[in-house]
């Protein structure tokens, strides 16, 4: 489903990813952990197509196709979703309006009928339950004046609406208290399916207690230095990252 091969990425003069290779199969949940500055968020952004990241080598294939040639909106329509670490405020733009515009852009791409306002409302109401949000959420400006937890829940709501094939969660757990973390994790778990893969980018093992991954990878100095099962996360929690530095992928 997702094949990243020897990916090299620069930001300005600085090389961030130095030959990252990763394969995620259909319906799998992978977690990427690693110290600050290891390139975790860069990977997330490159997958979504954020401007400012230069891919200098390697490839990313998504459902067998070259992902790197696609514009960000095309990737989204193909089913790539990025839950932002710092969701942006879009003042004055109604949350419903943006969700509906996004969903209809994706549906149009899939050759499905666009939803009208009433149909969309029906559709989104069910999705709200997934993240335990009430309807008042819909009429507010996109992330405008949202608390940290609300912003993250809003990201999961967007994911629930867009029903992506690959969801990349960039430090979705950061800045969340334990209750909000539980709600977000619950939402993600409800959205797990055989047809949907996840890439969880996180600092802490805590998130993985709630969302149990199939595989855990450790990213250090721009490449994956160790991969393993969920137990790897626990080991990292105890030993830190230093012992892995300089090692090559297992």
């Amino acid at each position: 489903m997702l094949d990243i091969n020897d990916l090299q990425v620069c930001v300005g003069d600085r090389q961030i990813l130095r030959g990252l290779t990763l394969t995620i199969g259909e319906g799998e949940v992978h977690a990427i952990m690693g110290p600050n500055g290891s390139g975790k968020s860069t990977l997330a952004h490159v997958l979504a197509g954020r401007p400012g990241y230069e891919v200098t080598g390697g490839s990313i294939r998504f459902k067998g196709e070259d992902l790197l040639v696609l514009a960000p909106e095309e990737r989204a329509r193909q089913g790539v979703f990025l839950a932002f670490q710092y969701p942006v405020e879009v003042p004055g733009v109604n949350n419903t309006y943006m969700l509906k515009a996004a969903l209809n852009a994706v549906r149009k791409h899939r050759g499905e009928q666009e939803l009208d306002a009433m149909e969309f409302l029906q559709f989104v109401k069910k999705r709200l339950e997934i993240v335990q949000m009430n309807e008042s959420f819909l009429s507010r400006g996109v992330n405008e004046g949202f608390s940290g937890g609300e912003k993250k829940r809003n990201e999961i709501l967007q994911m629930a609406v867009l029903e992506p094939v690959l969801a990349v969660l960039d430090e979705t757990d950061s800045g969340l208290d334990i209750d909000a973390l539980r709600i977000v994790a619950d939402g993600v778990n409800q959205l797990r399916s055989a047809a949907r893969s996840f890439l969880l980018v996180t600092h802490y093992q805590r998130l993985l207690e709630y969302i149990v991954p199939d595989q855990v990878h450790v990213l250090a100095d721009g490449r994956i230095v160790k991969s393993g099962g969920p137990e790897l996360a626990l080991e990292l929690e105890m030993r830190g990252y230093d012992w892995l530095r300089g090692q090559d992928a297992a």
Binding site: A48, V90, V93, A101
Partner: protein, 482 residues
């Protein structure tokens, strides 16, 4: 980043969708301005002697004045002798009594612009006083308005049918010598709209006028006068668009509003005149004087404008808050793209006690557009307890445009409260990427962000106008960021 700017420019570069020209035979006076021309206009319109004298007085004032040079706009000097001051569609001697009598070509033009009068008449419940060049050719819904006692007609008709009302109010808000362009308008205006809402009447429908400039080299000098008697309410919509022309066309309208005790006037404008091409050639010069006077206690006047057109906009819809407890509002969206220049804002003149005013201005600049907010809040010594809140936000798209905020505050009463907030921002790449990463294309994303930026103003517009305004912004910006 160069590539981003290029992308922004590609997006901004979008041709004016309403650029076409209707061929109509016109009854046009030779270019030039003199007392004879004014006498000709007045005679052509069979005006009473007092109005001719009023025009001539304005003309004499105008001769003594010089064009204003304080605005942040640049243009070559205007040759007022090169302008033709009268142009009327040639048709039957009698004005048409229904749409059936209107020149079919004219109706076609409206249809192209998406303003089907018939449908409006049937579906929208909006009375339309359509101004094509200088003479009103279609007026609808008169009966229903007449039943309510509301007078809504062309200015010429008002002069003929209600001369005393016109005489009583004309020039009392914008005196003939108020400013250079107002004086010119007073001397040579050819037509416009007149509305009178009697005591205690709530106008049963939104009133609207579509202005359209067509014949070459014919300045448009519209005159609008709206009077709301004690306790009455009226909402007036003005929208316009013009066909593509190569030469600059001067438009110098005057709008006067009078609100008596407890009256409310809401005046909404969506303006989309031809802005010139990407190099700034052609396009309308829109030098307009709009002012309302809250003459009575507890009266209110609210201006809402969405300005996307014109090569140059010079416009300051203002409120004179004379009545105690009266309220003035100004909500504005001004967008400049390509080489457009806008110097716009408002004046809130607080004279009465406990008068309140609100100013919300949203300026959007793209391409090489220059956008200035110019505002005056004046609290007179008599205006005890007056309050004003001003918010000016500017949004920049690309790196070659400009936004300027020029607020002026004069307070002569110590009990007044005046607040001013201003922000300038760019559409951030983060916002754009956020929208894109949800599947929304760049243009739609820009459109969405800009519309969000303008939301506080759009929500003041009547529903159907708000939809139109959003579309208009979309068309005007198609092309603006990356």
């Amino acid at each position: 980043m160069a590539s981003d700017n290029q992308h922004i420019e590609d997006l901004v570069r979008k041709d004016y969708a309403a650029g076409f020209f209707t061929e109509l035979e016109t009854d046009t006076v030779a270019p030039g301005l003199s007392e004879e021309v004014i006498r000709f206009i007045s005679a052509k319109k069979q005006e009473p002697e007092w109005l001719l004298e009023w025009r001539l007085a304005a003309y004499r004032e105008w001769l003594r004045m010089t064009p204003p040079n304080w605005a942040r706009v640049k243009h070559a000097p205007i040759d007022f002798q090169a302008i033709s001051y009268y142009s009327a569609p040639k048709s039957r001697k009698d004005a048409p009594k229904s749409l059936d009598e209107v020149d079919p070509k004219l109706l076609e033009t409206y249809a192209k612009l998406g303003i089907p009068l018939r449908e409006q008449e049937m579906l929208a419940g909006v009375a339309v006083d359509a101004v094509f060049d200088s003479v009103s050719v279609a007026t609808t819904f008169k009966d229903r308005l007449a039943k309510a006692g509301v007078i809504f007609c062309s200015f010429s008709e008002a002069v003929r049918e209600y001369p005393e009302l016109v005489r009583q109010y004309l020039g009392t808000v914008v005196p003939v010598g108020d400013n250079y362009y107002a004086a010119l308008n007073s001397a040579v205006f050819t037509d416009g709209s007149f509305c009178f809402v009697p005591k205690g009447v709530r106008c049963p429908m939104e009133l609207s006028t579509y202005f359209r400039i067509n014949a070459a080299n014919t300045g448009q000098f519209e005159r609008t006068l709206i009077i709301a008697e004690a306790g009455s309410h009226v909402s007036y919509l003005e929208g316009c668009t013009a066909p593509r022309r190569d030469e600059n066309q001067l438009h110098a309208a005057v709008v006067e509003l009078v609100a008596l005790d407890d009256a409310r006037i809401k005046y909404s404008t969506v303006q989309n005149w031809y802005p010139g091409d990407a190099e700034g050639r052609g396009g309308i010069y829109n030098f307009v004087t709009k002012r309302g006077e809250c003459r009575g206690a507890r009266s209110s006047i609210s201006w809402t404008q969405v300005e996307t057109g014109s090569a140059i906009t010079w416009k300051y819809p203002s409120c004179v808050l004379r009545g105690d407890d009266s309220v003035g509002e100004f909500y504005s969206v001004a967008l400049t793209n390509h080489r457009q220049q806008a110097d716009t804002g408002t004046k809130m003149i607080h004279l009465g006690r406990n008068t309140r005013s609100t100013i919300i201005s949203k300026g959007i600049s793209a391409g090489h557009g220059q956008n200035a907010y110019r505002g005056l809040v004046r609290i007179a010594a008599t205006a005890a307890g007056a309050r004003n809140h001003t918010q000016c936000d500017s949004l920049l798209l690309g790196s070659r445009c400009g936004a300027h905020t020029l607020p002026c505050i004069e307070v002569r009463n110590p009990s007044a409260k005046v607040e001013h907030e201003a922000t300038t921002s760019r559409i951030s790449e983060d916002q754009l990427f956020y929208c894109q990463s949800r599947g929304i294309g760049t243009e739609d994303a820009v459109n969405m962000i800009v519309n969000g930026f303008c939301r506080e103003v759009f929500r003041e517009l009547p529903m159907e106008f708000a939809v139109e305004a959003q579309k208009l912004l979309g068309v005007s910006l198609e092309g603006a960021v990356g």
